[in-house]
Symmetry: C2
Subunit: 839 residues, 2 copies
Amino acid sequence: NVLSVFACGTGLWNMYGRYTQELGVYAKEEAARLRESGQRRSVSRTLDLLEYDKGRCAKCRICTVRCQKFLISRVGEDWIFLILLGLLMALVSWVMDFCIAICLQAQKWMYGGLDSNVFLQYLAWVTYPVVLITFSAGFTQILAPQAVGSGIPEMKTILRGVVLKEYLTFKTFVAKVIGLTCALGSGMPLGKEGPFVHIASLCAALLSKFMSLFGGIYENESRNIEMLAAACAVGVGCCFAAPIGGVLFSIEVTSTFFAVRNYWRGFFAATFSAFIFRVLAVWNRDEETITALFKTSFRLDFPFDLQELPAFAVIGIANGFGGALFVYLNRLIVQFMRKQKAINRFLMKKRLLYPALVTLLISTLTFPPGFGQFMAGKLTQKESLVTLLDNRTWAKQGIAEEFDYIGHSEAWKHPQVNVFVTLVLFIVMKFWMSALATTIPVPCGAFMPVFVIGAAFGRLVGESMAAWFPDGIHTDGTIYPIVPGGYAVVGAAALSGAVTHTVSTAVIVFELTGQISHILPVMIAVILANAVAQSLQPSLYDSIIRIKKLPYLPELGWGHHEKYNIRVEDIMVRDVRYITLNCSYRDLHNVLLTGHLKTLALVESTESMILLGSIERAQLQALLSLQLGRPRRLAYIRERAVEDKKRLSVVSNDSSENSSHRASQEVRFQVRGHSGQRCKKCFQPFKAHYFQSHRKKCLQNVTAEFCMSSKITEWEEKQLDEQVNFNNCKIDPAPFQLVERTSLHKTHTIFSLLGLDHAFVTSIGRLIGVVSLKELRKAIEGSVTVKGAKVRPPLASFRDSGTSSSENEATELHKLWDRHKSMPLPREHTPSESDEKSQ
Amino acid sequence: NVLSVFACGTGLWNMYGRYTQELGVYAKEEAARLRESGQRRSVSRTLDLLEYDKGRCAKCRICTVRCQKFLISRVGEDWIFLILLGLLMALVSWVMDFCIAICLQAQKWMYGGLDSNVFLQYLAWVTYPVVLITFSAGFTQILAPQAVGSGIPEMKTILRGVVLKEYLTFKTFVAKVIGLTCALGSGMPLGKEGPFVHIASLCAALLSKFMSLFGGIYENESRNIEMLAAACAVGVGCCFAAPIGGVLFSIEVTSTFFAVRNYWRGFFAATFSAFIFRVLAVWNRDEETITALFKTSFRLDFPFDLQELPAFAVIGIANGFGGALFVYLNRLIVQFMRKQKAINRFLMKKRLLYPALVTLLISTLTFPPGFGQFMAGKLTQKESLVTLLDNRTWAKQGIAEEFDYIGHSEAWKHPQVNVFVTLVLFIVMKFWMSALATTIPVPCGAFMPVFVIGAAFGRLVGESMAAWFPDGIHTDGTIYPIVPGGYAVVGAAALSGAVTHTVSTAVIVFELTGQISHILPVMIAVILANAVAQSLQPSLYDSIIRIKKLPYLPELGWGHHEKYNIRVEDIMVRDVRYITLNCSYRDLHNVLLTGHLKTLALVESTESMILLGSIERAQLQALLSLQLGRPRRLAYIRERAVEDKKRLSVVSNDSSENSSHRASQEVRFQVRGHSGQRCKKCFQPFKAHYFQSHRKKCLQNVTAEFCMSSKITEWEEKQLDEQVNFNNCKIDPAPFQLVERTSLHKTHTIFSLLGLDHAFVTSIGRLIGVVSLKELRKAIEGSVTVKGAKVRPPLASFRDSGTSSSENEATELHKLWDRHKSMPLPREHTPSESDEKSQ
């Protein structure tokens, strides 16, 4: 029973990632420690040497060395890292805003300069964004396709513990920054906030690498994850100058479980970043002092009446439906584009055609002298938001009020058309435009467009209320007219909260506007919007995660009683690939050919099934290649050759043939060695299916080659029949185990807490099954297999709560599994395989 | 190797509590499920029956039954629970505020009515609070001593997974509510926020019990913890009408790891609660509409100048030191009172003397015609806060300004004394008064007093700035005078943040004042204050946790590199109490006598040491008592009696003696059975040491009794030598295991994530040690054992970072442990025992 293993304990709990990385991290850590201690030793040795040298200069040098030591140790501090990150991101954000403003000004200038000819004006209005978007799409495509989209879904996956390596490189950083600047400079309804989360994370990853050149402690995996979590907060914080909202939003959007100790990091970095971002604006003479980005000035003494609350609630509920519709529309467009194979093939060939066409359509519709005049088309996103949050009332009794529409507000006023019609048109057009624009393959977010639409909807309700109650609702005493700007604030928070499934948009709204007087209406609307939207659709980010097929774990809703009734034994896969302690290399080979899990269970014997530990696939492959690999082959051939020589020393005419045979074999071995190296590709985290088949091919090649030389084959057969020697193999002696009656709720909690990827199910130490993210996901999403195509949203609590149908489903699931159990299926692998195909 | 166990899998991961409870929960869950399904069956049966009955009435009744079914299912929903909780807490908060206001008014009325005679006035001023505080202390002491203090430390411990059962009972609720009302009504510098967290949790626990009468799903342990987390948010939310700040504050104060899905619950309940709380004020005609509790009206266009930021930073740093000093002072007073044995003995006899004396001292000093006139003594806490946040400037060029001090502001103006002197006196006096008052054994918090002191300090700095720059700092163009009220806001947030070690006080401040314009100064000051305070002292709540010796796990600081270098093998206890599969009852008995862990490891054999599972102490005790218990004894005696009768049927004169002997033995057994029942006390979670000795005594009694009858002893000896039969014993087949090289950082994360209490350390399946919270705590707090009495604060990153001393400490610790390892100590238990004594 005693098993000699290489003690590699650090990787036991794959807290934030898989075992493979942990090992790497451990090795790196050790190396860093050695390096560091070496450094220290050399420093102290220098000191010792200097102590003997009693000149004046020596003291100075001691001092210098001490300072150097002090600085190096300081560099390792988190807060220096966070300050640098905040500073860097503030600069990036400010410079980007500056460039975007210049781009937008350029468009306005061109459009304004050509006012003699409408056609030329149109051409200028349309060409400019088309060129910018096409450039952005092309640039991103060429440099780093990973930079496309908002990046929040990817960050969520990375913080979940999955490694998407290409997503945190310098190339991606450059592509994202430049692509985003161009995309936003085009004036399309796109946002900056999602990409900024990604950019901040990129910044953190790069900065971390850079600082590890000095310190040596920036190598720890879990520390990096903590830094990434802080970076997400910085991203939102410096984008909106909203430190608190940024921290909360990033937590809500990226985490399932949150360590409160990271909270403080996030606050620190985000505050510093927001501070620098706004100070830059003051230094640039844009602002007189540090204020909010979209400062409002509603009255403080009586922000709203109690009787206006139903209107706010209506905004919340309507925006909940609107948010769900937006997510649905966005997904529909993507799926439509994918399904239409003819279009798809054409577009894939001309990759830049789709962005150009979409941009052309949208910019044509917003052309101010054309249809744009009915939807305030000439305003940029920022300008429309500023006007929507204005604290004056635009309409009274349905007629546009006769105050002077200063500045941009005049865009909303049309001589023939009522301001209500303009608002409705704005909302409807911008709604589908935003949903469409966010599918363009450029770096872009959807938060800001949604925010503006929500503000417009709020404004619409507010203006209607103001028209309905021109003297306000308050009955006794003073007249407090209704403030439609307050409604706009509520609407903006509600719609963006509904789309992203977050409550912290409320805080972002307060920080953006610099006023918190509408706190209760905003909170009520956001919560109602969330309740409605969560019951209808997943959040935008989860929707993208599903579209992109990133590995994820759905959330458990509230009030799902059945989660406590389903047990792990109901959902686990009973057909586990395992290896026994006394297995032969042939068994190993067979297991590697059939299985697809990244780690394999090691059991005592097939009879006892006592789980001893788990071994990584790579380790086993290494074992196999060690047994059948080149050195041993060469040794064998050399041995045989010596034997042959001894035997055939008389028959000398055969020797040349033999040597040529040997040479040809060596060549083949080299080729094989090469293909063996290529097999490392097999362990990349993604496109597992593709690589699966690739790997199979590789191994088939190997087996095919086996047949070429019968003697070699014979040798190989002999080698394969030998018992495996696990002596130098890294075994995880305590893989994650659950017992068979653990509830689904608890399993989910453990998986998301520890960032697990799979867990073995044991009964009194005996392995009886395995649960991976996939099974868990299926079980949580309910009855995908039972009821066919119906995909249940993760938080569909409002839809099916109260009825006992869900519980019936659960029992049906039970029955199904029980049937599975009783049925003498040879291997239950079929469903999962078909699932793999469908993915 | 096959081991038949009672499958009790749910308890495998003691997620939020100990294994014992989980089992209870599992049983309850099962019962609830059965009950529920029974209910449903009966309902459906009724429906079936009714379907046959074809009258009109039947339809109605079907409808009624359906409605009933629907309602019952709805009651199970979380959101109904949260709404009820919010409503209840808002009512409690409002009613309490109302009573407190009446109490304070009564004092003012008495004081005002007696203005003819200063002595009578003094008597009235002093007697009133003394009576109230004494009543509060006495009432709490008699009804539920658990209600004393803020309750946040206890809630933190409960949410950590430890069960403090008496803390969530109806008695405690009543004691806390009434005690708190009286304490706050006395006008002492006490707060309402901490106790409100406790009250909300009490409310949630009671409501949960109440609703389980209908639903049946309110029994799940982890669900209850989730609800308690939401309740904490409600507590803060409805105390300050600050939903967002409430949620964040409760997270920061009570959690280490936070599930984002609870976040939403907290927001929902806290918002609803805050809404109702403020609506009640509107209905009571206190307010015209829903506004902030301490509404400010600073100018919006230019809240502060960039050049004022250093002053804000100074406030932050100074308040950081102040916060640390407050915590230190508070602890010092408590420890002083405990150490002075003479005083202590006297005070323990007259328990109400201490509160009365403290109240007398404080109220004497604040007597308005006396010393109180120099420190605005006649203002209540609320009034002083309102005046401090006033947006007018009190002083110009050092001379009190000549505007009319309306309302309460005049209290700050003294004909002879400068306003600065008044402010300084106020700060100094209130500082020690608050630190002293919070040690009174009544339900009280420290947040509000600290908040007021912070505001006063901010005001002081603000007034100084206003006197220094009478025309404001801004150089070009418009004159923007300095707003000292803004400084007060910053100071309040910074000091309360420093004392509680939270950042979310910033959010609370915005919600309390209804203005967010000072967001960046507030954030900067809060973060600086936190940085300073965390490096000097633990938070007030952690300090109380240590004083009260509640089980806790300190936080890991940031930038502690050594945490990655210490491994579990360095800190684990190598001398593990275990039982083997083939052990005798005697071994069991011995193990139970010596060990103190709540669960014991079950290994295959002493040679192999392969960990098979863990068994609770209670289970083992049950096994032992089953083997030596009354039924088997009686059976044995009866058997022997039959034998005796057979043998001694001739010698009939002996029979009477024999029967009397039997009777006396039966009596003794009953006594023993009784004492056995009393032994259940041994399993209470606290005062383990005391009960340890108690248990020893019990068992010694048992052993003493053994000697009384030699035959019984012989029988018992025989019984003890038998091999243990684990057939009906509940064995946890997968207790939490770590491998020996897991880093301290990772261990800490796992312990706090999963709420563990201990974990076994294994090496290739073989048990080599055990780590419990205690070892972990010692290792994190650094060198308590190595360096003697020095207790290091948990986040002392600023103090010792940069120097390599901490790393030296780590290596010293390493060495120490290595020495321990190499030294042939018979049992390494001595350090932990001595530690137990010192506690």
